[in-house]
């Protein structure tokens, strides 16, 4: 059983499938995310695929500020991803809300709605920085267990409770 576990863990690091969610970004970061797929950067050599389906994906890349309309959509995409998963917030807007943080319709960064593992700053974030962010997320992904593992489940539950306890700070009111 240990052999199979090791195999799965190695495979998880070698085959991160990505779903990219544009949370009202100006498309600057989105173009940089897509630039990673081009022959110049070619992220497929690390097994990274832009899969476009949250049910198949391991890593959720979010660019742009979260506003009151798309907060639910973001939450929905995140909920559809099976564990183990990781979230990367891209760009100034994704990490904190950027220059739009005080706008009347803006909730703030991605971490106001879902737990974020890696923050990639920049306006727009460079493709090199995005690839670096994915590599950082992989290190976190390796430690994750699928929810079958009870210890990991307890840890996740603890995190979720903490997240829930801080809900007042992140409150999304329309």
């Amino acid at each position: 059983m240990g052999f199979f576990k090791n195999l799965v863990e190695t495979s998880r690091v070698k085959s991160p499938w990505i779903v990219h969610f544009d949370c009202g970004s100006c498309n600057g970061c989105d173009i940089e995310v897509l630039a990673c797929l081009t022959p110049l950067y070619d992220v497929e050599r690390f097994g990274i695929l832009n899969i476009g389906n949250p049910k198949h994906a391991d890593i959720l890349i979010v660019s742009g500020t979260v506003n009151y309309r798309n907060a639910k959509a973001l939450r929905n995409v995140y909920d559809q991803m099976p564990e183990p998963r990781a979230v990367i917030a891209i760009g100034a807007c994704g990490t904190s809300g950027g220059i739009f943080r005080d706008a009347y319709n803006v909730v703030g960064g991605v971490d106001k709605v879902i737990p974020v593992d890696v923050y990639v700053p920049g306006c727009p974030a460079k493709p090199e920085a995005i690839i670096d962010g994915v590599v950082l997320a992989l290190a976190k992904l390796k430690e994750r267990r699928s929810t079958k593992d009870t210890d990991a489940l307890a840890e996740e539950l603890h995190k979720a409770r903490e997240f829930y306890a801080n809900r007042e700070d992140r409150k999304v009111v329309e």
């Binding site: 576990k5 195999l7 799965v8 863990e9 190695t10 495979s11 998880r12 070698k14 085959s15 499938w17 022959p39 070619d42 497929e44 050599r45 690390f46 097994g47 695929l49 832009n50 899969i51 476009g52 389906n53 049910k55 198949h56 391991d58 099976p82 564990e83 183990p84 699928s146 929810t147 079958k148």
Partner: protein, 286 residues
């Protein structure tokens, strides 16, 4: 059935997914090379499958789980039937049952992407299945039997008698491999329109099961291709290598087409080629 056959079947069932995965890895590498990229490691499909096996079980309903397993079992069974040198028509029917169950699993969910993908997959099956039957009938005309043991006993390569029907078989191979221009039901590149089509609602271990079953299917179709040059080992390998490289080339130079184009083009060209080949056979026999 003696012990030797059982061992053959077990070896084939173990080797087939390994070879299928390696072929898929080689395919991705060559495609990347065609596009001026470096490409993933050859073992990448295995990493993908093992990762999927280790993910959370998440299913929309129990039908999906059932259908994924039936697809795998049917694919394994049809390959086993090939190894024990059974009947080509029987193999064909068992393979079809598996493919239909995969579609039923996709249809059991309310997701529109899954539904559209399933409908397209059904049209793909409608396209290639008559052609496969015609190919088997052509083989019957030459060798006088649907049984693989009799086809292998035929002293000349049947490719020389059925070159056009071999072309028809490669149409079916292209559709079954999900390659351009026929990759309309579950394309890697059609995110905007169908997400992953028929595979959209399968996730985690169930997607891995479908992938492994797909490898079995590929190996089975390649094995049927290999019947066309069964007299010499080198000829067989050459034929398969040329066929597969041609598939990769076609995949890279053609765009994804619509189902209407696929149905009209494949049936028109396929049935014309088959008729022509049959006419040639008759002309020879007189």
């Amino acid at each position: 059935m003696d012990a030797k056959t059982v061992i053959f079947v077990i070896v084939a069932l173990i080797l087939a997914p390994i070879v299928g995965g390696l072929l898929a890895g080689l395919d991705r590498r060559l495609t990347a090379w065609c596009q001026g990229r470096f490409g993933p490691p050859i073992l990448q499909p295995f990493y993908d499958v093992f990762k999927l096996l280790g993910k959370d079980r998440q299913a929309v309903n129990t039908w999906q789980i059932f259908c994924a397993h039936i697809y795998l079992i049917a694919s394994m069974l049809s390959l086993a039937l090939f190894v024990i040198q059974g009947d080509l028509l029987m193999i064909f029917f068992v393979m079809t049952i598996g493919a239909v169950f995969m579609v039923v699993g996709a249809l059991s969910t309310p997701s529109p992407y899954s539904q559209i993908g399933a409908q397209r997959e059904l049209i793909q099956m409608l396209t290639y299945e008559p052609l496969l039957v015609i190919v088997f009938v052509g083989i019957y005309f030459v060798t006088g039997s649907f049984k693989i043991s009799d086809i292998l006993a035929y002293e000349r390569p049947i490719f020389l008698m059925l070159p056009l029907l071999y072309l028809v078989l490669t149409f079916a191979l292209t559709i079954k491999l999900r390659k351009s221009p026929f990759d309309i039901s579950a394309c890697h590149h059609g995110h905007q329109e169908i997400v992953r089509g028929v595979l959209t609602e399968y996730s985690g271990p169930y997607l891995a099961i479908l992938e492994i079953a797909h490898w079995y299917d590929i190996i089975l179709i390649l094995a049927i291709c290999s019947l066309f040059w069964s007299t010499s080992f080198i000829g067989m390998i050459m034929l398969l290598a040329i066929t597969y490289l041609a598939e990769i080339a076609i995949d890279n130079i053609t765009p994804r087409m619509t189902w209407k184009w696929m149905l009209t083009y494949v049936w028109a060209v396929g049935i014309t080629l088959s008729l022509f080949n049959m006419a040639l056979l008759y002309a020879k026999s007189f």
